[in-house]
């Protein structure tokens, strides 16, 4: 395989059989369309390239910025494509909830505009929502923007009608599967693939999966939001079902741990939704059937999403010298001194507050080690000699007392905490300086 540029690597992804021992279906062969193997990382590479290609030449001449409403994969792909053509890319979103994706987009050189939250006091004269306003600016001529408009652009569907769909048929030896299962974001992939499959066999059953209301699965719509999508036509789907973020994570874990497939949450959701839906049918079958679902993208971008929802997956062994292991008695017995005594302190003074606060005002002669860093240091052992007296300072004397208790337990004989913290110090009129 020798290519002139990365866009040639888009598409032609493998269709991989899922081990029946994993999914447990008796009469159905379940295949995954491995869209995670696209060069920029997802299924959306196809749509991004299809939509952007006709716009790029003109845009490059005018120096326009490519813009899209996207919180993830489409933005990623468009940012890469724009960069290859010397163009800027801007993503407009109100749903950028996954920090890794945000950081990745910034790394790729994208600009990100986030739309404001709803007004607390309703303004009845404000009849237009920020999204519509943004839309209008983008589409006016000479705006300096080219808008790929993935939620309404037919090319988004065509990318899959001519690409993803026919590839599936080819890999199934010229036959369409009996069931096709996909998560619905812009509806581009499910609509295009369904159309291609039905050209071969009008009886293909299509299952669309959306997130349950008030749930969040990055990349796809909830059951309500899907109606805001221009490409969405309920007639495409034989069934629309909801999946929860829990379903998506369960499926993801199965795919990554048992199937050698580093799938993201929507791949997991598609697997879980497919098995759940097909299990009911499987029991009534007497002949073999095939089913295909889509694995849209990869797991790596979703670590914080997973950490937030399944913290236990990341459980690490407890670290030594942790303030959380202190008993109430130990904390109560922490050695403290009051402001008067502290004014005469001649040893080291460690201020645990953040650097801005420290730089603005502090006790003369103190040094600043912010609490998070101090905690890290202590995991490694005593960071100063036992012969060095240390006074710890924090805002109200609570954190410093915990650290004083911990250092005492670690064997430091002359550590003290400033009672009432720097606030008590200030309130007593003791001197604070800035350097």
């Amino acid at each position: 395989m020798r290519f002139d540029d990365m866009t040639e690597a888009i598409g032609n992804t493998p269709l991989v059989r899922i081990d029946p021992a994993v999914h447990g279906l008796i009469n159905i062969d379940l295949y995954a369309k491995m869209e995670l193997l696209n060069p920029f990382g997802s299924l959306k590479d196809r749509a991004a390239w299809q939509m952007a290609r006709p716009l790029l030449a003109g845009a490059a001449d005018r120096g326009d910025t490519v813009v899209e409403l996207s919180s993830g994969n489409t933005a990623k792909a468009l940012a890469m494509l724009a960069g290859m053509h010397g163009l800027k890319f801007k993503s407009v979103t109100n749903r950028m909830k996954v920090p890794e994706i945000k950081d990745l987009l910034l790394l790729l050189g994208a600009e990100i505009d986030e739309l404001p939250g709803q007004a607390e006091c309703l303004d009845p004269t404000d009849t237009e929502d920020p999204l519509s306003r943004m839309h209008r600016t983008l589409t006016s001529n000479g705006s300096g923007y080219v808008h790929t408009d993935q939620y309404f652009n037919e090319l988004n569907v065509e990318a899959h009608l001519h690409g993803t769909g026919p590839e599936i048929v080819k890999d199934l030896d010229g036959r369409a599967p009996d069931y096709f299962i996909a998560c619905v974001g812009t509806a581009g992939s499910s609509t295009g693939v369904a159309r291609a499959l039905r050209q071969h066999d009008p009886d293909v059953r299509v299952l669309g999966l959306v997130a349950a209301k008030s749930d969040f699965i990055p990349g796809i719509r909830t059951i309500d939001e899907v109606h805001e999508v221009g490409l969405f036509d309920p007639g495409v789907y034989d069934t629309i079902e909801t999946i929860t973020s829990d379903d998506a994570i369960d499926g993801l874990l199965t795919l990554v741990r048992r199937c050698g497939t580093p799938a993201g949450p929507t791949g997991g959701g598609a697997f879980q939704g497919a098995v759940r839906h097909l299990a009911a049918i499987d029991a009534t079958l007497t002949e073999r059937r095939t089913a295909v679902f889509i694995v849209c993208d990869r797991v790596e971008s979703y670590l914080s999403y997973l950490r937030e929802r399944r913290p236990t997956l990341f459980g690490r062994p407890a670290r030594r010298n942790d303030t959380r292991s202190l008993t109430d008695d130990e904390v109560a017995a922490a050695p403290t001194i009051d402001v008067n005594e502290a004014e005469r302190w001649s040893g080291l003074i460690v201020d645990l507050r953040n650097p801005h606060a420290f730089q603005a005002l502090h006790l003369d002669g103190s040094i600043n080690i912010v609490d998070e860093l101090f905690a890290e240091l202590l995991h490694g052992g005593l960071p100063f000699s036992r012969r060095q007296p240390v006074l710890l300072v924090c805002p109200v004397g609570e954190k410093s007392a915990r650290y004083a208790a911990l250092l005492t337990r670690m064997g430091h004989p002359s550590v003290r905490s400033l009672e009432g913290g720097i606030i008590a110090w200030r309130d007593a009129g003791a001197p604070l300086v800035r350097d």
């Binding site: 950028m96 945000k102 910034l106 600009e111 990100i112 505009d113 986030e114 404001p116 939250g117 709803q118 007004a119 607390e120 006091c121 309703l122 009845p124 009849t127 929502d129 920020p130 999204l131 519509s132 349950a212 209301k213 008030s214 059951i223 309500d224 109606h227 805001e228 999508v229 221009g230 969405f232 036509d233 309920p234 007639g235 495409v236 789907y237 034989d238 069934t239 629309i240 079902e241 909801t242 999946i243 379903d247 939704g273 759940r276 009911a280 507050r353 953040n354 801005h356 606060a357 420290f358 603005a360 005002l361 912010v370 998070e372 805002p395 109200v396 609570e398 720097i422 606030i423 800035r434």
Partner: protein, 511 residues
Amino acid sequence: MSTLLTDLLKRPSGESLVPDLRPLQLTPKIDPITQSVLAEDAVLRQLVDGLGSPLNIVLPEALDTNVEAFRAVYRQHRLRGRVYFAHKANRSVALVRHLAADAEAGIDVASLAELQAALSAGFAPERIVATGPKNREFLWLAALSGIIVNADSLDELSELAAVIAARRLPRARIMVRFSEFASHGVQLVSRRSRFGVPFAQLAEALDRVDKHANQLDLVGVSYHLDTIGLPEKAVALEGCLAALDACRRRGGTAWSLDIGGGFGVNYLADGREWERYTSELAQAVLGRRAPMTWNGHGYGLRNEAGTLRGSLGLYPAYRPISGPGYLDQLLRAAAPGQRRPLGTLLLDSMYDLDIEPGRALLDQCGLVLARVLEVRGGEDGGANPDHGDQRETLVRLDLNARDISLEEHGVLMDPVVISAAPPGPIEAYLLGNLCLESDLITRRKVVLSRRPRPGDLLAFVNTAGYFMDFSATRALHQPIARKVALFQGGDGWSWCLDEHYWPVHERAEAA
């Protein structure tokens, strides 16, 4: 098994939809204090008989719970600072006097008359902050009485300094309100605000204060953002921290950061009702179910060629995290720049946190009563699938949409029926007492627990914040509602006219 939604969406082969006809209730959240008032139906009837419909009821004692809940968040975060009640949310003097009796609580006044009300209720000047744009009279009384002036613009700083210099008044404690904060990395687009000094003019603002150092004593900085979005507020709060640091670098001694109001209220008892209602509303706008609103009003949603466009112009009435909980969440949120919790940053720098909640402090602090004048249509009583006008139930009330501005503020909740009629839910439109086609109390068909009869009362609960007297007018010479304060007397509720309430009634004396 998952929720199977097949029946909601058309199959290509064209099986018809099975519409969901259960009444779309939006049951208000009713706390025990409101419940115990509703239980006194005889008293409520007498009050309306004697004082007319509509009648506003305020519950000053409910304020105590809300103030305490905010203070609990302060304690949790080890923060100090003042809770200022945003007076604009309700004109009641009883509420203001009751709050004045709490030695620590403050009040945020946004007009000359509100300042007069606060002073005459007994608030000491250090417990009063003036916000919003101010005219010369307001600035003068503010300076004369020695309250804190939260300046809305650079010109206002100069004007205040001029007033003080010309009349040789004492130096005024001031804050500066900032707006249009810059975010890094991700560009957070904020709604444009007419208020406050753009953050880009921070240096200019501090110069202006320095220039008038003999008249102005900067004690803090502030923001108030009209948004429910936490990320925007996190950016603003971190911006204000930077402003205070800048002030400190110049040798200033400002210690306070005032983050305004906008903490929100949870109006509904059950999130599932809200979810179902909003889902069904979208279906109705798309023409996939019978209308649920007068003339198919979409509350901002519209149908463009089968696609839902626009955005829902409604207050998110079900907000499990609101009021004190919202403050807690904000303080726990990491500052976008420093990535350390905002509450910790405030504490690290020894800054006091001031807040100006309006709506959130008035949670469960009052209700509006209206008499039923006429009940028309829908005689069969049950939910009605046809949209034939004859068969809709219409309930005409002796109040108008300005008396209870729920609709104007986009808050949807069902009123409580006070009636001896047999229970059995009905759906109805509520009409007002102005001879105007537009005088609908709500464009949404509400669900009533029973079919009321003329003379019965409807109670619009939890309406003290902004819905009670904010918009009321005397159009058509209709009276403006009288206001009554209810308080715990010896045994059960006692009442007096709002203007007669002082927080020294017997029960308070005994305590």
